[in-house]
């Protein structure tokens, strides 16, 4: 799924092969006009609902048409210090109304592409340029945070986000 999140949120054309979203595993040979029945082909039943959630999550103006930028990620070490981390891919998309609109959508994509859990800090507020930096977008606003791949939601003061 981590690979799917990356392919469906990176810049460019997002290519989905029929069956991929159902969790089908076996590649359909170009010399065959059939594929295995779904129950024989799907190895992991959890993939289908996850893909469904993911495809739903990557809809919307911010991810499709908004600005796109990489974020810096810092790994928190045991002694409290931080070091830049390249094993976690993070990028940020925000909707085209940045600044002006009444409602700004910011999508933060975080993918840990390493086999171990990592404790990282994502420098969201360093993103953006000129007058439309993320910190300016967040300043003085209430933010509604929601996990697009899960049920968690939260209301947070934008100032609190920028200060931490």
């Amino acid at each position: 799924m981590a690979a799917a999140v990356l392919t469906l949120t990176a810049p460019g054309l997002h290519f989905v092969h029929d069956g991929q979203q159902d969790g089908r595993q076996r590649r359909v040979s170009m010399h065959i006009t059939r594929r295995l029945p779904e129950n024989e082909d799907v190895g992991d039943d959890r993939l289908k609902p996850r893909y469904k959630t993911l495809l739903k999550a990557v809809r919307g103006a911010a991810l499709r048409d908004g600005a796109w930028e990489r974020c810096h990620v810092y790994e928190r070490l045991g002694d409290g210090s931080e070091t830049p981390c390249t094993r976690v891919m993070t990028h940020l998309c925000w909707s085209p109304h940045e600044g002006g609109g009444p409602f700004t959508e910011i999508v933060v994509v975080v993918v840990n592409y390493s086999p171990i859990p990592l404790n990282v800090r994502i420098a969201v507020t360093e993103c953006g340029t000129g007058a439309s930096t993320i910190s300016e977008l967040l300043a003085g606003r209430m933010c509604f945070l929601s996990d697009r791949l899960g049920p968690r939601t939260a209301d947070i003061d934008g100032e609190a986000l920028t200060s931490t």
Binding site: A2, A3, A4, L6, T7, L8, A10, P11, G12, L13, H14, F15, V16, H17, D18, Q20, R24, Q25, R26, R27, V28, S29, M30, H31, I32, T33, R34, R35, L36, L55, K56, V58, R59, L63, R64, D65, G66, W68, R70, T86, R87, V88, M89, H91, Y113, S114, P115
Partner: protein
């Protein structure tokens, strides 16, 4: 945009509350023409507002004046759409539907609807004709459909209007009670021959189909959202608006307004666009019965920066449909529900893999692979098909329904605001392609006994030895024959194919696109590219810029997607491709190389936006690492049916007797094979 309804005779003048709503831009009112004009003034006479006024004529204002409906922001047309789309079965609508309740007074309502449609068509025609001055009026008159004027008796109406009686405003439209099949056909034929935008908005408000005839090509689109129409407003020269109310027992009410526009093409088109836009934003009502009317045409919507593409293996899909239906299936059998699913999931492009005709040679070749390819394990000979990349003709085979079926499928996909992409295989054609016999000079032939030294790469036909299709570093594809891009006539033929495809769909996915780049052609084929008849005729220009130019002359929004390897993406982008596969990105995903991916994502933005992010590749060569199973990042899966890249390098260096070049651009993973 506000949507104004103006069927009745009441004036807005005395209603300050409504006027305020108009000014606030949240108005969705019923009323008469006077109201409409007033509303248009209030809204600043934008084209959209005017058109909305013109065509919103649906119901008497009083019938809509239930208190709830006057809340700002409420879309009355939405209800109307439901009503109109459900003329026959309105009694079944839930009681909470205010319109259903109103519809119990069906006679009056029906009549109002019909009148509204008639007036809409009439007014659009009238305005178009005015703006187009004499020329427009002339065209409008000439294009009148050969339909008799009558008004159908609405259900419950006691007497029908006498046939032949004039409609209230005979301004470029006719109303017909029974639009006979012959008349309909004639009209459709007329439309297909007449360049311009033809809009037919029918019994269902929420869905309109457009038909655009440009350069002798017919584009058909169904709209479920009017916004797209405005985007393409600048195109057409004549407008025909044809509204059909829902009838019963085959009765169709038609009000057609037609106007030709001379110098004011854009306005005319915009007007029609806005007309449909005004009708369309009504929300889709799943309970509405299928439409009887169709047509309206519009250009495809603008793609977002990061579009989502679904690749459908057409032949797998159709064979599964045939299995479930218990009869042979074609493209027409692909259910609307499946397309609706794609649209609602958010896909922008549908790539139909394998729609073109293939031959028996490819089929037999595939049968031979049955026992060798682990991805084919468990299937029988009945399940085997030719490779879709061994094409004998760029036409849809009869068993899939022919080119017409593809056209119909495209129309259905377009109606859901998605684009259609199909295959284009520039490097080779099937061995049983007619060119092997009719145009042998289109193909790469053996020179200087090359076929004797390397018999595995050539086959003989008619006394000549032709090369199998091949990539520089790959084994030959033995069901294909290599095209000779040094031959100018071949290039013209390929451009002709692209023009044909550009007239049918919205884009091509070009198989192994980098193989016909000049640099690679020269590396792979050298002097075999020289035309036999006269070596000086050899075309040494790049193919892709010309190909993109040609196709986009036919279809300006035509998409080029390149399947590319060997890090040729950037070069292909410069040659006109919209998107290119990125095998390196894929490899790093499969290998679980987080840092490598991080590096790739930090590359230049202009490069990034043209990358097609693919999680599954089709193997052009068994010597590339294509697992049979979908990759999972950690740990990488065992390579089931292929070998590794280093195997490919080894193959090249150890093979004797074949001239192979490793070009200077080879990237790191190709370097081991350098001599």
């Amino acid at each position: 945009m506000a949507f104004v309804e103006c069927a009745g005779d009441e004036a807005l003048a005395g209603d300050k509350e409504l006027l305020q709503e108009v000014r606030a831009g949240v108005l969705h009112v019923g009323g008469g023409p006077a109201l409409g004009r007033l509303a248009a003034r209030a809204l600043g006479k934008t084209a959209a507002a005017q058109a909305a006024v013109l065509c919103g004529a649906l119901r008497r204002r009083r019938e809509l004046e239930a208190p709830a409906a006057r809340q700002p922001g409420r879309l009355r047309i939405e209800h109307l759409g439901r009503r109109v789309g459900d003329a026959a079965g309105h009694r079944e609508l839930p009681a909470r539907n205010r319109l259903a309740r109103l519809a119990r007074r069906e006679a009056a309502v029906e009549q109002a609807l019909h009148r509204g449609f008639a007036r809409a068509g009439e007014r659009v025609a009238g305005v178009a004709a005015q703006r187009g001055a004499a020329e427009g009026a002339h065209l409008a008159g000439r294009q009148r459909p050969p339909v008799r004027e009558t008004v159908p008796p609405a259900p419950g109406q006691r007497h029908a209007r006498r046939p032949g009686a004039r409609t209230r405003r005979p301004c470029g439209f006719r109303v017909g009670r029974r639009l006979r099949a012959a008349g309909l056909r004639e009209r459709e034929q007329q439309q297909q021959q007449q360049p311009g935008l033809h809009a037919v908005c029918g019994g269902e408000l929420h869905r309109c189909l457009c038909r655009l005839v440009l350069n002798g090509r017919l584009h058909e689109h169904t709209l479920t959202n009017g916004l797209g129409l405005a985007e393409g407003g600048a195109r057409s020269c004549s407008a025909a608006v044809d509204s059909r109310g829902p009838g019963r027992d085959g009765d169709t009410l038609t009000a057609a307004g037609q106007g030709g526009m001379g110098g004011k093409r854009a306005q005319s088109a915009l007007l029609v666009a806005a007309f449909a836009a005004a009708l369309l934003p009504a929300r889709l009502d799943s309970a509405a019965p299928p439409l009887r009317t169709r047509q309206i045409s519009l250009p495809t919507p603008t793609l977002p920066k990061r579009p989502l593409l679904m690749q459908l293996n057409t032949r797998v899909l159709v064979s599964e449909l045939a299995q479930s239906l218990g009869r042979p299936a074609s493209l027409d059998d692909i259910p609307d529900a499946a397309l609706d699913d794609l649209a609602s999931t958010g896909f922008h492009i549908v790539y139909l893999l394998g729609v073109w005709r293939t031959g028996m040679f490819g089929l037999n070749k595939s049968k031979k692979l049955l026992s060798q390819d682990p991805c084919m394990a468990g299937f029988s000979e009945e399940d085997v098909g030719s490779s879709p990349f061994a094409i004998t003709e760029y036409a849809v085979p009869e068993d899939l329904g022919g080119d017409d079926a593809l056209g119909r499928l495209c129309a259905r996909i377009h109606s859901r605001r998605m684009r259609v992409v199909v295959d284009f295989v520039p490097n080779h054609v099937a061995i049983d392609h007619p060119w092997v016999k009719t145009h042998p000079h289109f193909l790469i032939k053996s020179r200087n006994d090359e076929h004797v030294r390397d018999p595995g790469s050539y086959f003989e036909s008619g006394g000549d030895a032709f090369a199998f299709g091949r990539g520089l570093l790959w084994e030959p594809w033995e069901d294909t024959v290599q095209l000779n891009y040094g031959e100018p006539e071949l290039r013209q033929a390929m451009l002709g194919i692209l023009r044909k495809i550009a007239g049918m769909v919205d884009g091509v996915r070009c198989d192994v696109a980098m193989l016909v780049e000049q640099e690679l052609l020269l590396s792979t084929w050298g002097d075999q590219l020289e035309p036999e008849r006269d070596p000086s005729l050899q075309d040494t220009s790049e193919f892709w810029p010309a190909a993109c130019r040609e196709a986009r002359q036919v279809n300006p929004n035509f998409l080029f997607i390149a399947e590319s390897y060997w890090e040729r993406e950037q070069a292909l982008m410069y040659k006109g491709f919209d998107f290119c596969y990125d095998k390196v990105f894929y490899d790093r995903l499969v290998q679980g190389d987080g840092e490598g991916i991080d590096h790739l994502l930090n590359l230049g933005r202009n490069y990034q936006v043209c990358i097609a992010r693919v999680l599954r590749f089709h193997p052009p060569s068994p010597y590339l690492s294509f697992p049979c199973y979908a990759p999972s990042p950690s740990p990488p899966p065992p390579c089931v049916c292929g070998r590794t890249n280093s195997c490919a390098s080894l193959k090249i260096t150890t093979r004797t007797g074949r001239r192979r070049f490793c070009p200077t651009w080879t990237s790191t993973w190709l370097r081991p094979c350098s001599p």
